[in-house]
Amino acid sequence: MKKNIITIVSAAVLLFNNSAFAQTKNTVEEIVVDGFKVIYKPTNNQIVSARFFIKGGTANYAKEQEGIENLLLDVMTNAGTAKYPKSDYNRLLDKMGSSIGGSSGLDYGNIALNCINKNFDATWAIFEDVINAPSMDDAEFKKQRDAMISNIKQEKSDPDAYLTEMAMNDAFANLNYDKNTNGSEESLSKLSIDDLKAHYKKVMNKKQTFLVVVGKIDRAQLIEKVKKLIKSLPEGAYMPVKPALLSINKSTLNTEERKMATNYIRGVMNGPAYGTEESYAMQLAFGILQDRLFDEIRTNRSLSYAPAAFYQTNINPCSNVYVTTTDPDQAVQVIIDEIKKIKTVGFSEQEIKNQKSSYVTTYYMGLETNAAQSQGLGVAEVKGNWKNFINFIDNINKIPAKEVNAVVKKYLSGIRWSYLGDLTKVKSDTFLQKL
């Protein structure tokens, strides 16, 4: 058994040694420019990705103001700036084929620049103005707000998006994640341009923000650019968000009727904190559980096209199971049986070995673009340390089988189910079984 693990570790090392990424693995560098953190990775290709991260996400605003950070970033990246009025802003970006977009999620917001090398200087000049001098025009604000409300409504039509909202609101009730990052019609309607200006002032400081740049950019020139970028950012103060671990010890069921061709079901369970050994063990466990649900629900029983199991490595982590099915009773029973099985019987060494091997492929697929790399580095930094991103495969490979088996026993003790669909098909006893 031990031999197998060693083989896999060696394979991973070999991959690193042979890869282009291996050459640059150690060149990811953290630079502090006038008190502001920059994570920099030079590459040889023709694309540049830069992301300005704002830490905090849903921790940055109250439930009543949910959606405010996304709206702020929408206005900042769509309404023009002091130097570039909207018409010029759009014309120049279109002309260069560059994009500057902003969005805010559960743990962070970011303003992302994407361009080809030759247009980097000109795109950066606009990026700099977006960050420092966005046009906070009231008419533009109202237009963006209306568009966002329309998007929220459109999203509600999509059962997957709506189920996600149901599940997060239920599992994280009264915690930061019960805020909808896109807001609600009610919260957005009450926001004013002054609220946005206040939010800008609150989050835009050197301590709460940092930058990631991946591209063929000269280091010295980048530092000069960054100095100019942060010239007017205040020092500020930022207390990192403390992870709130879920404590689900019994199963519950939250339902909503919707007439559709099938039923959408998601179950949320506890999960270990990101970056810990337990979190890597849980990722392996849920990778294997995903395969088992595929086998049992889809291949053997034809109960669903799309069963899934995944562990979400947010600051406030959670484990998830998901299925769409016309036979919820049977599908949920299989999910519960499989979870019980992994808790009692555990996983085989071979399964864990194979899972580690799959992670190598998907990890590298996630490294193919500079934008994916800047995202990966930035998100890891938001959650504690950017190095977790580049050490991911090493960290996964270090996990022994016994830890994978132990972590599911420790964390999977109840499921908060959310169900969207035909309520006549719900047998609550099935959902509410003990794990």
Binding site: S19, A20, G97, I116, P159, M260, A261, T262, T299, Y359
Partner: protein, 566 residues
């Protein structure tokens, strides 16, 4: 290096004759095996992975209604038992063992299967694909189990209310050949599929001479060619061209413009969709380039369309796209209007469409920006080899590899005149299908019928009158008349004939009076009288039992409509 280049050009000359004249990118290498299998290798050392893709010229366009959805089911069966891995479990164990990330897609004109794995396992990956493509078992039990899974995929699509609109639109746009643009297929056909039907597909399309094998990633093309020759070299060709043997029927043009209304309790915002039949790569290749450039002009935020619809707050989104295809590429326009300004948004959209061929609709800078953007987009596409390979294989199916390799150069040649010609040939004044998705109740509350009423067939417009009356009192008839007026407005070149009837016991002038009532309603709504011809007829009276007489008479107090063919 020079020697290598010569060999490659030689190979391309044999393999893809059109390719010989076209310069391939430096990292593209192509070859054709003796059995007709075309092989494309794209070297890219970005990450230590290799993606292997097998592409077959199959998909919805090869399906009549009895096979609709079976290319898709076949695609699912690829990932099941085969000679080397005799159960799906064995197949998936091998997937896990090799650390493979896999998937497949079925679209109108392509079925592709792809795996990504460590570059060190490339040979294992090729062998794995060889077994799956050549030796599927179509195990009866696995088939039976897979049918509901594909149905489940269908149900998921159906659960999104917009699917209802897209599907209905597709039926109207593609008419008798709807199945050939409907890759997800027909639920009942999928559910009742058999291994025999799978073998029919295999025996028609699954041959090396109808397939492309592409490998992209951190690989050496010479080694890949050699391995492929060893593994796939003995795959027997069919000896026929399936598209000559079973030609794809031509799509019937849309004859008359049509409006479609879909109401759903789950639709939260209104959404318009407008579709035209566009050019294709068999018949009008230059127009396909003009179509792409024009779509990119329209999506610029300073474009007139965006400014007049989105900047003014009339709409939240507007998007114009053309899908390149070998068999009639659709031009789709999608707009999410502000619910409060739905009629205004609709009118401004049409105002813009009618201006699309005017000299000053877009600036020279916007034209150049569109061309440059398309080029830059390609740079972004190339950044992700595991995705980029899909782009290239799409062109192999719906055009040719040279179409793709010369794409940027040809875009740069597109002129304002080319775009005007494209608009005039495919869009302006051409019949279309336009649909709107509304939440239940919106149709009435927003009075959308006043400008957008569901079109009916001429037979369905038949209306009836009350005895001795010339007015169409019933609400149902009023709805039909509103719809007919809309139909005449969106088909300004169509003329109709109206036949009115009266029966025994009614005044002889009643038929004519009824005709005049309809005529006045139409002309009051702005329809020119010259577009309408009418006749009044006495209904043939069938002698029946007394109890049935009134029922028969009621049917005879009718007015019927038909299109006057020119």
């Amino acid at each position: 290096m020079f020697k290598k280049l010569i060999i490659i050009i030689g190979a391309s000359f044999v393999g893809l004759s059109a390719m010989a004249q076209d310069k391939l990118p430096d990292n593209f290498f192509i070859k054709k095996l003796n059995n007709g299998l075309e092989v494309l290798v794209i070297e890219d050392e970005n990450v230590p992975l290799a993606t292997i893709e097998i592409v077959v010229r199959n998909g919805a366009y090869t399906e009549d209604k009895d096979y609709n959805g079976l290319s898709h089911l076949y695609e699912h069966m690829f990932f099941k038992a085969n000679k080397a891995y005799p159960s799906q479990k064995a197949f998936l164990d091998r997937v896990n063992e090799l650390g493979i990330s896999f998937n497949g897609t079925t679209s109108d004109e392509r079925v592709n299967y792809f795996v990504t794995l460590s570059k060190d396992k490339l040979v294992d990956g090729l062998s794995f694909m060889n077994n799956a493509i050549r030796y599927p078992l179509f195990d009866t039990v696995e088939m039976r189990k897979e049918n509901p899974v594909v149905a489940g995929e269908f149900q998921r699509a159906e659960s999104n209310p917009f699917f209802g609109l897209f599907d209905r639109m597709n039926k109207e746009v593609w008419q008798d050949n709807y199945s050939r643009k409907n890759p997800i297929g027909d639920y009942n056909i999928i559910y009742t599929a058999t291994a025999e039907k799978m073998n029919v597909i295999k025996n028609k399309y699954y041959y090396p001479n109808n397939s492309l094998l592409a490998v992209c990633g951190d690989v050496d093309h010479n080694k890949v060619f050699a391995e492929i020759e060893k593994i796939f070299g003995d795959w027997a060709p069919s000896g026929f061209d399936p598209f000559q043997k079973w030609p794809i029927p031509e799509f019937k043009p849309i004859e008359y413009a049509k409006q479609v209304v879909i109401e759903s309790p789950n639709a939260q915002v209104p959404l318009f969709m407008l579709t035209y039949h566009g050019p294709d790569t068999r018949n009008d290749i230059n127009a396909t380039y003009a179509a792409d450039v024009f779509s990119y002009i329209l999506q610029q935020k300073n474009a007139k369309l965006y400014k007049e619809l989105v900047e003014t707050g009339l709409a939240f989104q507007v998007n114009v796209g053309y899908q390149t295809a070998k068999y009639v590429g659709p031009i789709n326009i999608i707009m999410v209007p502000s619910p409060r300004k739905i009629k205004e948004a609709y009118e401004v959209l049409w105002k813009n469409i009618n201006e699309w061929d005017s000299d000053d609709y877009f600036t020279d800078e916007q034209l150049q920006t569109a061309k440059d953007q398309l080029g830059i987009q390609e740079e972004f596409n190339k950044e992700k080899p595991s995705n980029f390979i899909h782009t290239v294989t799409y062109w192999w199916c719906s055009a040719t590899i040279p179409y793709y390799t010369n794409y940027e150069a040809n875009l740069q040649k597109v002129t304002r005149e080319d775009i005007k010609n494209y608009v005039r040939k495919y869009i302006k004044g051409k019949p279309y299908v336009m649909g709107v998705m509304l939440r239940n109740g919106m149709r009435k509350s927003m009075k959308t019928d006043e400008f957008f009423a569901p079109s009916l067939s001429m037979e369905e417009y038949t209306m009836s009158f009350n005895k001795d009356e010339i007015n169409l009192a019933k609400e149902k008839n009023a709805e039909k008349l509103t719809s007919l007026i809309q139909w005449l407005k969106i088909n300004p070149n169509a003329n109709i004939s109206i036949e009115t009837y009266y029966h025994d016991g009614e005044k002889k002038t009643m038929g004519m009076d009824r005709y005049n009532t309809i005529l006045k309603t139409l002309t009051d709504a702005g329809i020119e009288e010259t577009r309408i011809i009418g006749t009044s007829n006495k209904a043939f009276q069938v002698k029946k039992m007394k109890a049935d007489v009134e029922e028969t008479n009621a049917l005879n107090r009718k007015v019927m409509f038909s299109i006057v063919k020119k």
